[in-house]
Symmetry: C2
Subunit: 350 residues, 2 copies
DNA sequence: GATTAGCACTCCGCAGCTGCGAGTGCTAAC
DNA sequence: GTTAGCACTCGCAGCTGCGGAGTGCTAATC
């Protein structure tokens, strides 16, 4: 079952050629371009073997060979050699990532744009799942007699606020007491935990006015926590698929774009993938309209803990070596920059 | 130059038919379907006249007629009668809009999704331009020794925060004084105004520690204000264009999607459009790849003042009457719900 | 036994042709 | 002014034939 050295060489040659030219490759052109020292006829025999073993396919009798998913899998696992980025490429990534650091989401989106720009593929980036993020403090800030701002700060550096309408009269002192009490109760607990276990009368108070205020605030608090759990998804370079021969048929392009526009579904699927750089090829993908694509995802970390994802989608005929290297470098870089932003000691209590 | 009653009827019939079927309409089918009491031959004569006047075109000799941009313009300006929404349609819009009111941007995005769902067209929504928004207060909140949260609340109800790293030691009192001082200085002024005219030593202080802190905070403050000016753009239902016969050619679909993915450019173009419901047809559009589209935009208001936009893009062959009615209703509804959210008296001082 | 040359064969893609259907424009009659 | 009739135009779908690319097989060669 093992592949002879020569078979491997031929297979690699076919993959290389096909990745570059997107056209079935014939025995003659291999013999010519990749000096293996044998004639086309020999290569044809080997190719016939490789086809029987499932590494190659045939669009039709008189066409050249095309690598199968299995071939790409072999390539990614064993044949491919890691390509180091040039200093120039590294520099570009560094510069572009640091350029826009003001808002977290912006940075993430930028990273996706950068990735798609470099690889010329469709890319996406997701903000981290935050259910394991812990709360740092809660604060209620008066706006006017009908409105207050609810502010929730998490230890990852994530801070959210919503303006809420309250229909009970309140005093600034009451707000402060409630803020402190909520902070005291929830500080250090994960969002998940608070959502599941926070009972409204945690905050309960003997003072009637305060408890009325709490009753008015708590549902909004919970709702906002739920919002915080939402993962944001940014997609970039979707129109790159038009440059890919595989998608020159309308139907394919369409079903691909439709897949990408069902964002909730897509997000869910992506969250299920493991950590690190993961490559899934063609049929290995779950989504139907991705059966002829390859998907590469990688993870970055915020504050060393929360995990976000970034990914690339393209034809199975893809420069795996290059793309995985880029993604590895990019996510490392992202993780580092998010360590800086949120400080070293975010775990300390207030 | 004026069109006879019969010509108008025929023109209207052609438009109606073409909008529905997306196929050039012939004299016979008009005579049949839209009982005008005349024979196809007569209609042919009239059509020839209409063509000469620029209201109709001919894909080729043996094809039916197709309305020109000029015809649609006439239709939108004079012929079209406003279509009232059914109570059911209104109900759907109401329900869907109220369903997700927690975050402003979410609501906007939802509105775009709803719009594209109802019209089956591509749609977008933009958050308001906020340069005329006025500041309500600024607040600095301690996080740990290296970080503070900067919170900026505007009178529209818009509240932003960023975590900033400070490399000078600070006390809670200093933060409070600085907060108050900034609020005092900027309250009631527009973001634009503050960005242009705020000089750092506005805040200047005799106390050295305080002025060091201010120096550390101010650049971030300005940057955050700039961020607040950013208009967010949400697009929905882009893949709907695949259902439109006009875009069944790859090239068209492609150039359309590429246009839409250049978001900054698109945003800029949209901001230049006037208020209320505005229809631009085919060649009237500036962007090249929109010369065969129609674009309808409408404006909604936040707090009765800030103006956001929402829009629809589709083939010139579009149900103008229906779409404009829907958009009118939708924006009214949006404006109302944003009045509620931010309260009636947001103008009062703190 | 592995390799190679040679050749028949397959199949795609393309260009050119044909017939059909839809719809027009014109003319002559009403 | 309106209409019937008819020749004409054009796009489209389907067919045909051809060239090119590449295979698979067989028989000769190393």
């Amino acid at each position: 079952m093992d592949l002879s050295e020569r078979k491997l060489q031929i297979l690699q040659a076919i993959i290389t050629d096909y990745v570059q030219n997107a056209e079935p490759v014939g025995s003659r052109s291999i013999a010519k371009k990749y000096g293996l020292g044998v004639s086309p006829a020999t290569i044809r025999n080997e190719m016939a073997d490789l086809e029987e073993m499932g590494y190659l396919t045939h669009p039709h009798t008189s066409a050249g060979r095309v690598p199968s998913d299995k071939a790409y899998r072999l390539y990614v696992d064993d044949l491919m050699q890691k390509r180091n980025l040039t200093p120039q490429e590294k520099r570009i990534i560094n510069e572009r990532l640091r350029a826009n650091m003001n808002e977290f989401d912006q940075t993430i989106q930028h990273a996706a744009a950068l990735l798609s720009e470099i690889t010329k593929l469709a890319s996406f980036a997701m903000t981290p799942q935050t259910n394991q993020d812990t709360l740092r403090f809660v604060r209620l800030i008066p706006v006017d007699e009908h409105a207050i701002i609810l502010m929730i700060a998490a230890n990852s550096g994530n801070v959210t606020n919503t303006t809420l309408r309250v229909n009970v009269p309140y005093t600034n002192e009451a707000l402060e007491i409630l803020s402190k009490s909520m902070t005291y109760n929830y500080q250090g607990r994960t969002i998940d935990d608070v959502l599941k276990n926070a009972i409204i009368h945690d905050i309960g108070s003997d003072i009637e006015a305060l408890s009325a205020l709490a009753n008015s605030v708590m549902p909004n608090f919970m709702r906002t926590l739920e919002d915080m759990l939402n993962v944001n998804l940014y997609m970039e370079g979707l129109t790159n698929i038009f440059n890919i021969p595989e998608y020159s048929s309308m139907d394919r392009a369409r079903s691909f774009l439709e897949l990408m526009s069902r964002k909730e579904e897509f997000t869910r699927d992506m969250l299920e993938r493991g950590d690190g750089v993961i490559v899934t090829i063609g049929e290995e993908n779950v989504a139907d309209s991705m059966k002829d694509c390859s998907l590469i995802t990688a993870t970055y970390h915020v504050d060393g803990k929360l995990v976000g994802k970034i990914g690339v989608i393209g034809p199975t005929r893809m420069k795996y070596s290059e793309v995985t290297s880029i993604m590895e470098y990019l996510t490392q870089n992202l993780s580092e920059s998010f360590r800086l932003t949120s400080g070293k000691d975010t775990d300390s209590n207030e």
